[in-house]
C-alpha cells in the first residue's frame, strides 16, 4: 500500500515541480527566444527575423562585454575553487566540520549586494583602507586617481565574487569530505612519504572534485550572469554582458528589448560554452595531474601553497568583515571625509524613520522570504518523503531538474516569464515575486536537505513502523523531529537565497515589490552612503538572524522538552 501511495505522492510532487518550476523556465525561455528572433507584438515587432541579432552585433562594446563576462565568470570560479580546495586542506584536521560551518555562516548569509556595496567602499581609492593609511603612510590628501572599483579588467568584480563563492565552495567541500575517506587517504599518502599538503592535492582533491562538480557549474553560471554585484563592482564602460543586457531591457528605447532578448540567448550560449570550456579544462588538468602523480615527487611546494592559501583566505575573510563593518559604520555616520579614518560626526538619523524608509522593505523582504521558503520546504519534504515511500532513489534526470534553475541564467527567462505571466492574467506583484524567488529557493533547500534526509538512520523509521506507526505518523513523529536541525538549516539557507534575489524581484515585481536588496542596489547608485548602509546592514542581518535561529532553535526546543543539552 505504501509503495503505491508513495508513487502517487511522487507523481503529485513531480507535477508540482514541472508546473511550478520547469514550465515557467521553459515558457520564459520561449518568450525571450521569440523576442530574440523579432517577435514581440508589444513593441510592434511581429515578424520573425535575424534583425535583433544584427542590432545586437552592432551595439557598441558588445564583444568586450562578452569577453569580460567570460573572463570574470571563469576566472572568479576557477580562483574561488582553487582557493577553497586549498583552504579546505588547511582547515582539515584543524577545525571540526561543525565549527567550520558555523564560521562560514555569516559569509554565506550576507547577500552579494551587501558584500559588494561594503567591499566597494573598503577598497576604493577613497575607501576605508586608504583612509586608515592616509595621510600618515601614503601622503595622500586627496585620493589617488586609480581605478579600483569598476576597473576595466573586472578584478574587483572577481574579488567580490570570490568573497562570496569561496565560503560557498568550502561548505560544499565540507559535506563532500564526509563522503570520502579523507583521513585514511592522507595517512596512506604520508606513510608513502608525501607531505600532508602534497597528499591533499594528489589524493584528496581528485576524490572531492567529482562530488562538487554540479555546484561548480552553478557558481560558474551564476558568476557569468550576475547582475547586482557586477553593477556595483564590475566594469562600467562597457559592463559585463549580463549588466549590459539588463540595461538594454530597461532602456528607454523599447526597440532595444529585441537585441536584449538576443543577448539573453547569447548569455545562455556563453554559459554553455563556459561549461564546455571547463569540461575541457577538467580533462587537461586530469591528464596533467596523472603525469604529476606518476612521477612520484615528494616535494614541498604544495605545503607552501597551502600556507599561501591560508594567508589569502585570511585576507579575504578580513575584507569581508571590513566590508560588512563599513556598512554599519556608515549607517551611523553623519560626515566622514577623506582622509579621516573614522567619521567626524555621528548620527542615528538614517535609522530613525523606519516607517518612511526601511521598515516596509524589511517587512516585504521577510514576508517574501518566509513564504517562498515555507513553500519550498514543504515541496522538498514532500519530494523526499515520496521517494522514501515509493522506495525509489533519485534518478539523474530528477537531480538535473533540481539544478535547472541554478544553471540556466536567470535573466534568460525572467523577462520572458514576466510577459508570459501578464499574458495569462497573473499580475506582477508580491505573489509573482514569491513564486519567482521559490524557483531559486527550492533547489537550495532541496540540496541542503537531501543529504541529511538520506543519512537518517533507517532503523529509527523501521522501529516506529514495527511499533505500528503509519507513514504519516512516522513522518510527523519521527522523521521531522529528528531532522529538525537540518530542516531549519535548509530553511535558513532558503531564506538567505530569497533575501539576496535581485532580478526576479525587479522583473516580476513590476517595481511594486521593494525588498531590501532592490532598494540597496538602487540606493547604491545614489549619493547617501548612510542610507545605503542601513539597507545593506539590514539585508545582511536578516539572513544572519535566520541562520542564528536555525542554530539556536533546536537546542531551545530540546531544553523545553527537558532533554539535557549534552
Amino acid at each position: 500500500m505504501t509503495a503505491a501511495d508513495g508513487r502517487w505522492m511522487r507523481l503529485c510532487v513531480l507535477g508540482i515541480v514541472l508546473a511550478g518550476l520547469v514550465l515557467p523556465i521553459v515558457t520564459g525561455l520561449w518568450q525571450t527566444g521569440r523576442a530574440a528572433f523579432g517577435h514581440l507584438p508589444a513593441v510592434g515587432a511581429v515578424s520573425i527575423s535575424l534583425d535583433p541579432w544584427r542590432a545586437l552585433a552592432a551595439l557598441p562594446g558588445l564583444w568586450r562585454s562578452v569577453a569580460l563576462s567570460l573572463w570574470t565568470g571563469v576566472g572568479s570560479t576557477a580562483l574561488s575553487l582553487l582557493l577553497a580546495l586549498a583552504l579546505a586542506g588547511v582547515l582539515n584536521g584543524r577545525l571540526s566540520a561543525g565549527r567550520t560551518a558555523r564560521l562560514l555562516a555569516p559569509a554565506l548569509a550576507a547577500p552579494h549586494a551587501a558584500v559588494a556595496i561594503g567591499l566597494a567602499y573598503v577598497i576604493a581609492p577613497s575607501g576605508w583602507i586608504a583612509r586608515l593609511l592616509s595621510p600618515w603612510a601614503t601622503g595622500w590628501q586627496v585620493p589617488p586617481d586609480v581605478a579600483i572599483v569598476h576597473d576595466t579588467a573586472g578584478l574587483s568584480l572577481i574579488l567580490g565574487l570570490m568573497v562570496k563563492e569561496v565560503p560557498f565552495f568550502l561548505l560544499v567541500l565540507l559535506s563532500a569530505q564526509g563522503q570520502i575517506a579523507v583521513r585514511a587517504s592522507l595517512a596512506a599518502g604520508r606513510a608513502l612519504g608525501y607531505g600532508a599538503g602534497t597528499a591533499w592535492w594528489k589524493l584528496v582533491v581528485p576524490q572531492l572534485y567529482p562530488l562538487i562538480r554540479l555546484p561548480v557549474f552553478v557558481v560558474l553560471s551564476f558568476a557569468l550572469s550576475v547582475v547586482d554585484m557586477a553593477m556595483l563592482l564590475g566594469p562600467s564602460n562597457p559592463p559585463t554582458l549580463a549588466v549590459a543586457m539588463t540595461r538594454w531591457f530597461l532602456a528607454a528605447e523599447t526597440r532595444l528589448i529585441l537585441p536584449a532578448s538576443a543577448a539573453a540567448f547569447l548569455l545562455s550560449g556563453l554559459v554553455a560554452a563556459a561549461i564546455a570550456l571547463w569540461l575541457a579544462g577538467e580533462r587537461a588538468v586530469a591528464a596533467l595531474g596523472r603525469v604529476w602523480l606518476r612521477r612520484g615527487r615528494r616535494g614541498r611546494v604544495a605545503e607552501r601553497g597551502l600556507v599561501l592559501a591560508g594567508a589569502v583566505g585570511a585576507v579575504l575573510a578580513a575584507l569581508a568583515a571590513a566590508a560588512l563593518a563599513s556598512l554599519l559604520v556608515w549607517s551611523v555616520a553623519w560626515r566622514w571625509s577623506f582622509p579621516d579614518a573614522w567619521p567626524e560626526s555621528w548620527s542615528l538619523g538614517a535609522w530613525m524613520r523606519p516607517a518612511a524608509g526601511w521598515g516596509p522593505a524589511v517587512v516585504e523582504t521577510a514576508r517574501t522570504g518566509v513564504v517562498a521558503t515555507l513553500l519550498s520546504l514543504a515541496l522538498a519534504i514532500a519530494w523526499l518523503e515520496s521517494e522514501d515511500r515509493a522506495g525509489l532513489g533519485r534518478a539523474r534526470w530528477a537531480e538535473a531538474l533540481i539544478y535547472l534553475p541554478l544553471i540556466v541564467p536567470q535573466i534568460a527567462f525572467l523577462f520572458g516569464l514576466s510577459i508570459a505571466l501578464l499574458g495569462v492574467g497573473l499580475p506582477a506583484g508580491a505573489p509573482a515575486v514569491i513564486w519567482g524567488h521559490a524557483l531559486f529557493v527550492f533547489p537550495y533547500v532541496m540540496i541542503a536537505l537531501s543529504e541529511s534526509w538520506r543519512a537518517l538512520d533507517p532503523r529509527l523509521v523501521r522501529s516506529a513502523a514495527a511499533l505500528g506507526a503509519g507513514p504519516w505518523r512516522r513522518l510527523v513523529a519521527v522523521k521531522l523531529p529528528v531532522l529538525s536541525r537540518p530542516i531549519l538549516t535548509a530553511a535558513a539557507i532558503g531564506f538567505a537565497v530569497s533575501v539576496a534575489q535581485y532580478l526576479p524581484t525587479l522583473f516580476l515585481g513590476a517595481g511594486r515589490v521593494a525588498t531590501l536588496t532592490t532598494e540597496a542596489v538602487t540606493l547604491a547608485s545614489g549619493s547617501d552612503r548612510r542610507i545605503t548602509g542601513v539597507y545593506a546592514v539590514l539585508q545582511a542581518a536578516l539572513p544572519f538572524a535566520a541562520y542564528l535561529l536555525a542554530l539556536l532553535l533546536p537546542a531551545a526546543m530540546r531544553r523545553r522538552r527537558g532533554l539535557a543539552a549534552s
Partner: protein, 395 residues
C-alpha cells in the same frame, strides 16, 4: 511655519470654481493608492513624495506609493510589457516622473493617457502660451499629455576649499582639466545627467546653436558636433581614470566630490548642492554656478500611462503638485529645493509671499549665478551624440 503651510494648502485646495468633471474625478480618486514610478536615487525627492502622500491622504483620501526606479525606463518597459500582454486596464503604473526621450517614446507608442493637463484646476497657474517652457519637453510639444512639477537647471558644483576660480565656460573647463588631470569627470552619457553635460557643451561649442532646435539632419549634424568632439577628445585623457570609466549618475558623482575623488559635481537642480550640505552629504564649502553663457534648463513632468489602474488618483496627484503652496514647499531648500514651475505673474500676493519667505544658503546660487536659461536641443541630437559618445568611448 508648519501651521501656515497647512493653512496655505487648505487655502489652495478650497479654491472654488471646480468643474463638474473634476468633482467626479475627486470622488473616483478617493481611496485610491497611486503607484508613482519615480527615480528613487534622491532621498529628498523620496521624502517629498512621502510628505505629499500624507498631505493628499488627509485632504483627498488619495495615497501615493512611490515605486523607486533606478532608471525611468524601467517603468516604460513595464507598460510596454503590459501592452504586449493585452492588458489595457488595471496597469501597474499610475504615474511616471518622465522627461524627453522616455516621454517621446511612450507618446509615440500610444502608451500615455491624455490630454489631461487642461482638466487640472491648478493648471491655471501655469504659463501655457504657445512654446512656453511648460508646454515643451525637449522641444517635443507636450500637448497636455504631461503635467509639469519641477524646474531643472544645469549647474556645476565645486568645493571652494580646493578650487578657487572655477572655469566659467566649457572651453575653460578643458584648460582647467589639463592643469588638474584626473580631478574632473561627468556621469556616463548613457545617464541623463551625462548626456546633459554633453548637450551643454554642444550648445556652447556649436558654430550655430539655432540648428539644435530642429531634428538633427545628417547634413548639418557633422558640422554642428565637430567642435564638440574636438574639445572632448582633448578633455578625455585629463578626466578621472583617464576617461576610461565614468560614474553612473550625478549622485555617484556627488559622492565622489564628497570623497575628494574629484573636484566637481554637476546637477540638473540648482539647489541640489545646498540641500546636500544641509543633509551632511557635502562639505559646507561647496558652491554651485552655471557657465557664463547660461545653462540648459527644462521642466520635469509627470505622465499617466494609458492603462493606469488609478487614473483619477494620478490626476489628483498631478494637480496637487501644481498647487502654489506645494510648489513653495518644494522650493524650500530644507525640503526639496526645486524651483517652481508656476508663472509668478499668475500668483496672488499671499502666494508670492510664501516664495519670498523661503530660507537661503551660501551653496544656493543666486539668479545672477545662474544666468540665462538655454533651451534643450531637439531629442534627436541627444540620441545621436550619446550614440557617438558610446561608440567612441568603448573603442
Amino acid at each position: 511655519m508648519r501651521l501656515s503651510l497647512v493653512a496655505l494648502i487648505a487655502l489652495g485646495l478650497a479654491s472654488p470654481a471646480l468643474g463638474e468633471t473634476w468633482e467626479e474625478t475627486l470622488a473616483a480618486a478617493r481611496g485610491q493608492t497611486v503607484y508613482w514610478n519615480a527615480w528613487g536615487g534622491d532621498k529628498r525627492t523620496n521624502d517629498f513624495i512621502a510628505w505629499a502622500s500624507g498631505a493628499l491622504e488627509a485632504q483627498y483620501g488619495v495615497a501615493i506609493r512611490q515605486v523607486k526606479l533606478s532608471d525611468t525606463a524601467e517603468a516604460v518597459t513595464r507598460v510596454v510589457a503590459e501592452k504586449a500582454a493585452g492588458q489595457t486596464e488595471g496597469g501597474a503604473v499610475d504615474l511616471i516622473w518622465i522627461n524627453g526621450a522616455n516621454f517621446q517614446s511612450m507618446k509615440e507608442a500610444g502608451l500615455l493617457y491624455g490630454p489631461f493637463l487642461q482638466e487640472l484646476p491648478n493648471a491655471r497657474y501655469l504659463d501655457l502660451s504657445e512654446g512656453s517652457a511648460a508646454t515643451v519637453d525637449f522641444t517635443i510639444p507636450t500637448e497636455g499629455y504631461e503635467s509639469p512639477w519641477r524646474l531643472a537647471r544645469f549647474v556645476l558644483t565645486y568645493d571652494g576649499a580646493r578650487v578657487e576660480t572655477p572655469p566659467r565656460s566649457m572651453a575653460a573647463l578643458g584648460d582647467w582639466a589639463a592643469a588638474h588631470p584626473g580631478r574632473f569627470t561627468h556621469p556616463t552619457a548613457a545617464n541623463f545627467m551625462g548626456a546633459t553635460f554633453l548637450k551643454q557643451a554642444l550648445i556652447e561649442l556649436a558654430p550655430d546653436p539655432s540648428v539644435l532646435q530642429s531634428p538633427a539632419s545628417d547634413a548639418g549634424y557633422e558640422a554642428a558636433v565637430a567642435p564638440l568632439w574636438a574639445w572632448y577628445d582633448a578633455l578625455r585623457p585629463n578626466l578621472w581614470h583617464g576617461g576610461e570609466g565614468f560614474p553612473e549618475n550625478e549622485s555617484v558623482l556627488q559622492q565622489m566630490l564628497n570623497d575628494g575623488e574629484v573636484d566637481f559635481a554637476m546637477a540638473f537642480d540648482p539647489a541640489a548642492a545646498a540641500a546636500a550640505v544641509e543633509r551632511g552629504l557635502l562639505p559646507d564649502t561647496v558652491r554651485s554656478y552655471a557657465p557664463d553663457a547660461g545653462s540648459i534648463g527644462n521642466i520635469s513632468f509627470v505622465a499617466i500611462p494609458f492603462n493606469a489602474a488609478h487614473r483619477e488618483g494620478a490626476m489628483v496627484v498631478a494637480n496637487f503638485l501644481l498647487d502654489p503652496a506645494v510648489q513653495a514647499h518644494a522650493q524650500d531648500i530644507t525640503v526639496l529645493g526645486s524651483y517652481s514651475v508656476l508663472d509668478p505673474t499668475k500668483l496672488d500676493a499671499a502666494q508670492q509671499a510664501a516664495f519670498a519667505a523661503l530660507p537661503s544658503s551660501p551653496a544656493l546660487p543666486s539668479n545672477a549665478d545662474l544666468g540665462r536659461t538655454l533651451a534643450e536641443p531637439h531629442p534627436s541630437w541627444m540620441t545621436r551624440i550619446v550614440e557617438d559618445w558610446t561608440r567612441r568611448s568603448t573603442e
